[in-house]
């Protein structure tokens, strides 16, 4: 056997009810190597690695770590074996410092010496080039800093096998390249690194080998030097795909929304939007770029009538008949009663856009149920809409009454987007519309949005993948820490420029 072998998995399976998350997967992880595990959402890559990290227990199969068969039934067992995982959602305590988070949960003596911990953390930081202050509180940290802390935390515990679950999803291009540098340094030190991802360019840039998974099954492992985007995509999707987004020029765009000096405080009384002004036109797609939590959510919710707008801000709506209406401070229901077709696909699909325990029919009812004077709901009308959406968008569901939480992420999104489009929108707002969808379904959504644009709908698209934003949108509004940081022409601007504006305010740069 290869003496570099860190982990060997044999016939590992995991089921959740009737869903098979992993179906007899066998694979190898080596020391001194970066292995990408590539697969679409729902292909089972995270579940597989969660079993290695002790989060889930496999239904069948064997794990060998350093050549010995092991049973991992908790994250503690995994730590003992030198396995650590950085999850997509960080598991840190906000009011603790970096060092306190690091030692949290370590078994051993009852007392600890924080100075000693700080020293050791600085040593690790120096060794791999981390930028971390052990005495900083977590609530003062940026997302990238929190991620760094998670990595240092598991290194501190002596991990030699590191699993990172979609680490770049929350990072800007600049932060991503910094992370990659660190990962390369760790590889040079002989650590085994597993990168769970669905982004092809990262795979090609960073890894030594690529393991591809599809629908819970192991497909193949390819050495990165011989891989191309086309080969990887086809192995991942299982069929040929064309990766083109059609982007026609907007045909005489008309102003639909005029947003001026919008300031919104979020639930934590934090200024989430700071004096933002821009216009939205019918017949074009306005992309909104920004690192997550830069005010995107509050912006869309403010337009939808779900956020309190501070004094001085205004949202003005120009309807197709040429009437002007003030939407500032108008409630969701009143917007609807005014006959303004404002559709909104929120980021939190099952927690905001849909009712998870209800079926398609009842979810179609959500925005229509109070129509008419009868005290009872009109089920048949909604059933018809549900039926149309299901047929038109190919929603895979056992029945129209199956709770939508039982559907896959892609189908959930189709139900939501389908309902919002069925309402014949004049303005269509979407937040992270393709998050969690596989490549084919993502392109279905892009095409749907472009079709709406061709119909003259004003589309607002909040996205996280800059490549897609640049290919789909006509104009891009960049948000940086709740401030508007330029409205750019998507056809001419570069990805680097957008990335830079996401983190640095243009006005401050000019000032300094």
């Amino acid at each position: 056997m290869d003496d570099r072998s860190a982990v060997r998995m044999e016939n590992v399976s995991k089921r959740f009810g009737s869903i098979i998350a992993n179906d007899h997967v066998s694979m190898n992880i080596n020391y001194g190597e970066i292995l990408s595990v590539l697969g679409e959402n729902g292909s089972g890559k995270t579940t597989l690695m969660n079993m290695l990290a002790g989060i889930y227990y496999p239904d069948e199969g064997y794990f060998y770590v350093n050549g010995k068969e092991v049973t991992i039934k908790s994250p503690h067992d995994a730590y003992k074996l030198g396995i650590g995982m950085i999850h997509q959602h960080f598991k840190l305590i906000d009011v603790f410092t970096a060092a306190e988070n690091i030692i949290l949960g370590i078994e051993g003596s009852r007392t600890y010496d924080l100075k000693e911990v700080n020293k050791r953390v600085r040593e690790i930081a120096e060794q791999y080039g981390f930028d971390i202050d052990p005495e900083q509180k977590v609530y003062d940290m940026s997302v990238a800093q929190k991620q760094t802390l998670e990595i240092v935390k598991i290194l501190y515990r002596g991990a030699n096998i590191l699993i990172l679950d979609e680490p770049t999803a929350v990072l800007t291009p600049q932060e991503t390249s910094r992370l990659f540098k660190i990962l390369r340094a760790m590889r040079a030190d002989g650590k085994a690194i597993v990168l769970i991802t669905h982004k092809l360019n990262e795979v090609l840039e960073l890894s030594d080998r690529v393991t591809i998974m599809r629908k819970g099954q192991y497909i193949t492992t390819i050495p990165t030097p011989v891989a191309t985007e086309q080969i990887l995509t086809e192995a991942m999707v299982g069929e040929k795909v064309t990766l083109d987004i059609d982007r026609p020029m907007p045909v005489n765009p008309v102003k639909r929304l005029e947003i001026r000096n919008l300031t919104v405080y979020n639930d934590e009384q934090f200024k989430a939007l700071d004096n933002v002004s821009f216009d939205v036109y019918g017949g074009e797609i306005l992309g909104i770029a920004g690192i997550s939590g830069s005010g995107q959510k509050e912006l869309l919710e403010a337009i939808a009538g779900l956020q309190r707008i501070e004094e001085g801000g205004s949202i003005t709506y120009y309807d197709p008949d040429g009437n002007v209406r003030e939407l500032t401070g108008v409630s969701v229901r009143d917007i609807r009663n005014l006959g303004i077709h404002l559709s909104f696909v929120p980021e939190d699909r099952l927690g905001m856009g849909l009712v998870a325990s209800m079926g398609m029919t009842e979810n179609m009812m959500l925005k229509e149920y109070d129509r008419g004077r009868s005290p009872f709901v009109n089920r048949s009308a909604s059933e018809k809409v549900a039926d149309e959406v299901q047929k038109e968008l190919d929603v895979v569901t056992p029945s129209l009454d199956t709770p939508v939480r039982k559907l896959s992420g892609g189908n959930v999104q189709k139900v939501l987007v389908g309902r919002e489009i069925a309402a014949e929108p004049i303005i269509l707002m979407t937040a992270y519309a393709v998050r969690g969808l596989d490549i084919n379904k993502s392109y279905t959504i892009y095409n749907l949005l472009t079709e709406q644009k061709k119909k003259g709908v004003a589309v607002i698209y909040v996205g996280e993948d800059l490549d897609v934003l640049l290919a789909l949108a006509d104009r891009i509004l960049v948000l940086c820490g709740g401030k508007e940081n330029g409205v750019l022409d998507a056809r001419s601007v570069t990805k680097e420029e957008v990335g830079r504006r996401m983190t640095n305010l243009v006005s401050e740069e000019k000032a300094s």
């Binding site: 227990y57 003992k80 229901r333 927690g351 856009g353």
Partner: protein, 374 residues
């Protein structure tokens, strides 16, 4: 080469049992599990009876059955128990569906009962009986609703914890009842006694010669009404949406605070009505025992029945049968009354346990690898 990574480690043993969450289960299978659990519960009860008393468990069960359904009088008694409990549970259902944990049914029933008794005492024979009855029902519902609206207002306006608030309102109601009992108590017997025993003013008239028939009919109508309200009305739809996710409700333009207030008013009004029914139709008196813990038992009913009125009817049926049956065996076999409670407890425990087995599956050590992927 890479020996520095070959750390010694403990070989961890596979756990003996681990739990797997079931993602979905067919209703028929869920019912199978419930029935099996109840059967096991009956079996455990039988073992308990045999080991303690060395009686034949079959004859004990027969005695229970006769206690609940043996004569037409006993059947009506069981139906009466069922109706009052179900009325409270039907009241709780909309609040619980809203995830508003109304544990104040006890107090709402007491207040409804107290107002009814006050009207009986003060207006008895002064106004026509029909008018008195309607006035009693309306006032009981209004006062019950007020008792529920107070915590609901604070929840909707200031996000206070409704569990604690409704619970404490129970004690206020209890103290009020004891205060008025003391005022109305004429014989220094620490009780009001039967109110208007001679004139029967404010007593619900019997129907078909049955004292409890009107009670059963009123509760049956309420149950059916609540079923349609929750399942088919716009307000019922709003309750489900707000209960599932307040964010979704706001997104859909539903005013969360309004729904909380309206639903709690309905919930507590029905509980107040239960108090009226108990006083006017059943006991014809008021005491601190008028609610008798049924405000809490109704919570179990509402939960076990998943806030679905038909299922809740079934559960109250089982509970009423068990308690009537338990009383019967206590007298037939000269048991202490607690023996009956133990049997009821065992059965309830197994009904609750069935929920666990519906949600989780156990996998034993050594089974893995042998199972086929289905």
């Amino acid at each position: 080469m890479r020996n520095k990574y070959e750390k010694p480690h403990d070989h961890v043993k596979e756990p003996l049992i681990h739990l797997i969450r079931r993602m979905d289960i067919q209703p028929s299978r869920a019912w199978m599990i419930r029935i099996v659990c109840v059967l096991i519960g009956l079996l455990v009860c039988a073992l308990f009876i045999m080991s303690i008393t060395s009686l034949n468990p079959i004859s004990v069960y027969a005695s229970m059955f006769s206690g609940a359904f043996g004569t037409s009088r006993r059947i009506w008694q069981t139906l009466k128990d069922m109706a009052v409990l179900l009325c409270i549970a039907i009241g709780l259902a909309p609040a619980f569906k809203l995830r508003f944990w109304n544990v104040g049914a006890e107090g709402q029933v007491l207040i409804g009962g107290l107002v009814s008794a006050a009207l009986m005492i003060n207006l008895g024979n002064k106004i026509p009986n029909a008018l008195l009855l309607i006035l009693m029902a309306v006032c009981a519902m209004v006062c019950g609703a007020i008792w529920g609206l107070i915590p609901a207002y604070f929840k909707a306006r200031y996000k206070t914890n409704e569990t604690l608030f409704t619970l404490m309102m129970n004690y206020v109601a209890l103290q009020l009842v004891e205060f008025f009992v003391d005022i109305w108590d004429k014989k220094q017997s620490h009780s009001v006694g039967i109110i208007n025993g001679d004139t029967q003013a404010g007593w619900m008239p019997s129907l078909f010669n049955q004292q409890f028939a009107p009670l059963v009919i009123i509760v049956a109508v309420l149950t059916i009404g609540m079923y349609f309200y929750l399942k088919h009305s716009k307000q019922g739809f709003e309750i489900t949406v707000v209960g599932e996710s307040e964010n979704t409700a706001r997104y859909a333009g539903i005013s969360v605070g309004k729904v909380i207030l309206r639903t709690m008013a309905i919930s507590a009004a029905i509980c107040g009505l239960a108090g009226f029914l108990e006083v006017s139709c059943v006991s014809h008196t008021i005491s601190s025992l008028t609610a008798g813990g049924r405000g809490f038992t109704a919570i179990i009913v509402a939960w076990l029945g998943k806030f679905n009125p038909p299922a809740m009817t079934l559960i109250t049926g089982v509970l009423s049968f068990l308690s009537r049956g338990a009383n019967q065996i206590a007298s037939d076999f000269n048991f202490n009354t607690y023996a009956g409670s133990i049997l009821t407890g065992i059965i309830l425990f197994f009904i609750l346990a069935s929920d666990f087995f519906i949600n989780y599956k156990l996998v034993f050590r050594g089974k893995k690898g042998k199972e086929k992927v289905s």
